[in-house]
Amino acid sequence: MLSLKNISKYYQIGGNKSFVLNNVSLEVEEGEFVSIMGPSGSGKSTLLNIIGMLDEPSEGYHYFAGNAVHQLKEKQRAALYKQYVGFVFQAYHLIDELTVYENIETPLIYQNYSGSDRKAIVADMLDRFQIVGKKDLFPAQLSGGQQQLVGIARALITKPKLILADEPTGNLNSKQGIEIMELFAKLNKEDKVTIIQVTHSEKNAGYGSRIINLLDGKIDSSIKL
């Protein structure tokens, strides 16, 4: 599905290169459920963003679904991203002014779905996540777990092949966390969605098929479960 070869990311701080990612190489197969772990500041989010093409590496080669991402233009990269990737955030990042329904619908608008198509797809999704009753509420009126559910529904609405989740349960209590993780596991098994998540919790990491440990911008270990 994707592969990173000798990827580095650094910031120029006072003439010195400060490495966030240092010569990271990584392959992820389609259908995998990868958990990235590591201490704070080790570069997990940065790595995830690079995989998701939101951020660019300073050096290295990046292949995604058969495309050499490092050679693509911004526009092509955006198209690739739109087609394959869905993002889930720790802080949910729902748009406060939009209702649950509208939040979930937004990615479809940017993918130029027709109005009636959007209606059908969103209705399906609401159904599947059992949040039909909440569709007209605003994010502020939901609990954290519910918000994250909406966030995931939104990430899934365009049927991405890859879900990137940055500490999706970081702001949730453990019960809510378990729900989300079970949902991920189900998506991974039944819908064959590839998932890469960043997490601080060993337990959550256990839902995946592989755990990658980052330390000081380097892959410390990669363990298949």
């Binding site: 989010s45 939101l54 720790q90 990042h93 748009i95 406060d96 990615p107 365009t158």
Partner: protein, 837 residues
């Protein structure tokens, strides 16, 4: 406490550099505009108000039963016309020469009376040089002129300077020009038109009249020296020729005296009315009244013959525009500070929780605004001083900052900064103080302050801007239209040379004409030559009743080749003919003398189509009793006057008077400056170096629109300032708004929004608001524009394009203002904006 407030205010101003800069630029530009308008208004108000006993001075006027004043000065229409009805009260301000004496002998209330009458065109020769002065500036005036008015003399005694025969007082300016020294008393010069008088001796030199004086005289000759004085006196109430200023005794009751004067004038002028009624029985003339207008207010009145006219309605309009610009600048400030509350809200919250009272907070924010306002006003003053020369040239004034007292400027500035401070500062201060401590301390993810209010303010600003844009475009279009309109004659490349001789001189102008004509044949740069006894625009503006239509008939006395020269087609009959030789012969038959004619032509005439149709298309070459001569031809209608007036019925006579100006058509492609040099050289030979005054016909035509050009420039400047200020506001506003939406933009980008998606999203509301402003502006500007166009007999129609173009300008400038921030936000990397977790 106060000191801390100021310290905090300064610190805050420096902290938000961008917004402070935007606010200062906006407020100071508006202040500069207001200061200029203030200077202009104060300057206009100061006109003629510097005379010591000014409140006792009055201009004598009579109701205008001849209808001449109303013909010469058509009152301008404007939105503010209702405020100055008096300005349009067109009385006749010329009085009979004898009136001053009769008033003095009949009314003990009158302490003094000064008559002033023009000297006419005059070539002055002094120390072997010849000069021509502006006609208005050379006058005859009664001997007490310098006693009644406060015009200081440099040399000479106010009691006696205007008492001798063949003497004159001249201005400092003239003394320097003629004699190279202010000490010119005793020196002599000649004025040949003053019919073979001996040389005139300078009896006194006066300081140049102040710029804010309606009178700008350069030479004052004792009134009785006028060679026509005795005649004028003898003609009694048959001639109205002099300005008359009376000085009432101290303590005179103005209203009682006016009443007395009224009864007096009914009797005094009864003969005039009787004669008028006898001559024109179709009209019924009422009694003739006399009216005393306070001297210092005379310049607000539009009556013909007064040298300075302050258009009150344009003052109101200017003040209105200045107010609007000030308002827009304050709206900016309010908008920006309200939107910026996010940054400040925590500050307020913390202050409140530590026990700061509401008043303290209001005062703190008000101090900040007031400080900014003061700085802006000072900067505005600087800008105004820098812009003053430009302003003077636009407004055709000569305002010097040095003529204003420091006190009046200081008071003006204080008032201005207080107005700014209160207008801009109170609302944000109250809003800030009203924030609840808890809500302002909680950090909102996306926090926007009363979006409805700021939307309303933006719509208000841009409605005003759009109205200004539409007005500017309309005025511009109308002026372009007049500039390019077909006047019915060819006005290009026509050099007008003014006759150096006075109107009394019958022979010399004709001789010069022959000489110039002969010269024109030899000069290869000259294509054609003609002469007219008018300048540009017709004269004889009396109203007549022709076949029951009241018309103003124009009489133009021209040369044989006038129509060919101007390419005006003769559509019926013939042109004037030198060969026939009959066109100049005066007809003096019994039938003409007894007929009720309305033209005094008494000879062959060529009429324009309008007059021809009015007359009912009579047969040509027959004696026409209405015209008082045979109509030999009909010319196509052309605009003998500017386009603010309709084409009037007009008739032409040929070589009836001595020519007054010589018109030279320059061949196309000729080097103009060199050609004028050549003509000047020959002119000197032909006239013995008489003053060479020239203009161009197209410039003469354009002169009629000067006031409108000025108005265009003013409105354009106001428009620019308003738009710049409004755009600055929008710029700042969009900056704050996108700042507030940074996170949302990041999310949307992650959800797949393209840059154009985001650009549209961020600017959608701007576009909608501007469109709304545009819709609001349409009806208002429609009214305004049509009202203004009423000034013109020939006008453009305010077409939809005009409005659409204005709308596009508004949208494009507004988009330009917001684009910087929105594009910046749209292309920003979402990773950054989403990181702050």
């Amino acid at each position: 406490m106060f000191k801390i407030n100021i310290k905090l205010a300064i610190r805050n101003l420096f902290k938000n550099k961008l917004y402070s800069t935007i606010n200062i630029i906006g407020l100071s530009t508006a202040s500069a505009f207001c200061i200029l308008v203030y200077l202009y208004i104060v300057n206009e108000q100061s006109f003629d108000s510097f005379h010591k006993d000014g409140s006792q001075l009055f201009r004598v006027e009579q109701t205008d039963i001849f209808g001449s004043a109303s013909r010469l000065n058509k009152p301008n229409k404007s939105f503010f016309s209702f405020l100055d009805k008096d300005a349009g009260q067109l009385n006749m301000i010329q009085t009979p020469t004898v009136l001053a004496l009769d008033l003095k002998s009949n009314f003990p209330e009158i302490e003094n009376a000064i008559r002033i009458t023009g000297l006419g065109a005059e070539i002055i020769r002094a120390e072997n040089k010849s000069f021509k002065e502006k006609e208005n500036n050379l006058v005859y005036a009664d001997g007490d002129f310098f006693k009644v008015f406060n015009y200081p003399l440099i040399t000479g005694n106010a009691n006696s300077v205007l008492s001798g025969r063949n003497q004159a007082a001249i201005s400092e300016r003239l003394a320097l020009k003629y004699f190279g020294t202010v000490n010119a008393v005793g020196k002599t010069f000649t004025m040949p038109n003053q019919t073979n008088l001996p040389p005139t001796t300078v009896s006194g030199v006066f300081k140049n009249f102040p710029l804010n004086s309606s009178f700008q005289y350069d030479m004052i000759v004792p009134f009785e020296s006028n060679p026509d004085y005795k005649d004028n006196l003898a003609r009694g109430t048959d001639s109205f020729s002099d300005l008359l200023i009376v000085k009432l005794k101290k303590g005179t009751d103005y209203f009682k005296f006016s009443q007395k004067l009224k009864t007096f004038s009914w009797k005094y002028f009864s003969n005039v009315v009787k004669v008028m009624n006898k001559n024109q029985p179709d009209k019924k003339y009422a009694k003739m009244d006399m009216y005393l207008r306070p001297f210092a207010d005379a310049h607000y009145n539009q009556s013909a013959g007064w040298d300075h006219f302050t258009d009150l309605s344009s003052i109101y309009q200017l003040a209105g525009i200045a107010g609007i610009i000030l308002f827009i600048a304050c709206l900016n400030y309010i908008l920006l500070s309200l939107t910026n509350t996010v940054a400040r809200s925590q500050d307020v919250g913390i202050r409140k929780t530590i026990g700061s009272g509401k008043f303290n907070i209001i005062f703190q924010y008000y101090t900040e605004t007031q400080l900014l306002a003061c700085a802006s006003v000072l900067l505005g003053l600087l800008m105004a001083i820098i812009c003053l020369p430009v302003f003077n040239s636009i407004s055709n004034t000569n305002i010097q900052i040095t003529t204003f007292s420091l006190g009046s400027i200081f008071i003006g500035l204080i008032i201005l900064s207080m107005v700014l401070g209160l207008l801009a500062g109170i609302y944000p201060a109250l809003a800030m103080a009203g924030l609840k401590p808890l809500s302002s301390m909680r950090s909102f993810s996306t926090y926007r302050v009363s979006p409805l209010l700021s939307k309303f303010l933006v719509v208000l600003q841009f409605s005003i801007c759009t109205i200004l844009i539409i007005s500017t475009l309309t005025i511009n279009k109308q002026l372009l239209f007049m500039d390019s309109a077909d006047l019915g004659f060819n006005k290009d490349q026509v050099l007008i040379l003014q006759s150096p001789y006075g109107w009394q001189d019958k022979k010399a102008p004709k001789i010069l004409k022959e000489r110039l004509y002969n010269y024109s044949l030899t000069d290869p740069g000259i294509q054609d030559f003609t002469s007219v006894s008018i300048y540009y625009g017709g004269y004889n503006n009396n109203a007549f009743l022709i076949n029951n239509n009241k018309v103003y008939l124009q009489a133009l006395d021209v040369d044989y080749n006038y129509f060919n020269f101007l390419k005006i087609p003769i559509i019926k009959g013939r042109n004037f003919s030198k060969e026939l030789g009959t066109d100049t012969i005066k007809i003096n038959t019994e039938s003409i003398r007894t007929a009720k004619t309305f033209s005094l032509a008494s000879r062959a005439v060529i009429v324009n189509e309008t007059l021809y149709n009015l007359l009912g298309k009579p047969k040509l070459n027959e004696m026409n009793l209405q015209m008082g001569g045979p109509i030999v031809g009909v010319c196509k209608d052309y605009h003998a006057e500017d386009l603010t007036k309709k084409i009037e019925p007009a008739y032409h006579t040929v070589e009836r008077y001595a020519p007054f100006s010589y018109w030279v058509k320059i061949k196309g492609g000729t080097n103009l400056p060199a050609e004028i040099e050549r003509i000047h050289a020959n002119w000197n030979k032909l006239t013995n170096s008489a003053p060479f005054d020239y203009t161009f016909l197209d410039q003469e035509v354009a002169k009629n629109y000067e006031a409108y050009q000025r108005w265009l420039k003013t409105i354009t400047a106001a428009c620019f300032v308003a738009i710049i200020i409004a755009c600055l506001g929008l710029f700042g506003l969009s900056g704050l708004a996108t700042l507030n939406r940074t996170k949302e933009i990041g999310i949307r980008k992650v959800l797949g929004a393209s840059i154009s998606n985001l650009f549209l999203l961020l600017n959608k509301s701007t576009i909608m608001l501007i469109t709304l402003s545009f819709l609001i502006a349409i009806p208002f500007s429609w009214l305004l524009v049509n009202e203004w166009l009423e000034n013109f007999a020939y006008k453009i129609k305010p077409t939809p394009e005009l409005f659409i173009v204005a709308g596009i300008i508004a949208v494009v400038t507004a988009l330009g203002a917001v684009s910087y921030h929105t594009i910046k936000a749209a292309v920003a990397n979402p990773v950054k904006s989403l990181r702050s977790e």
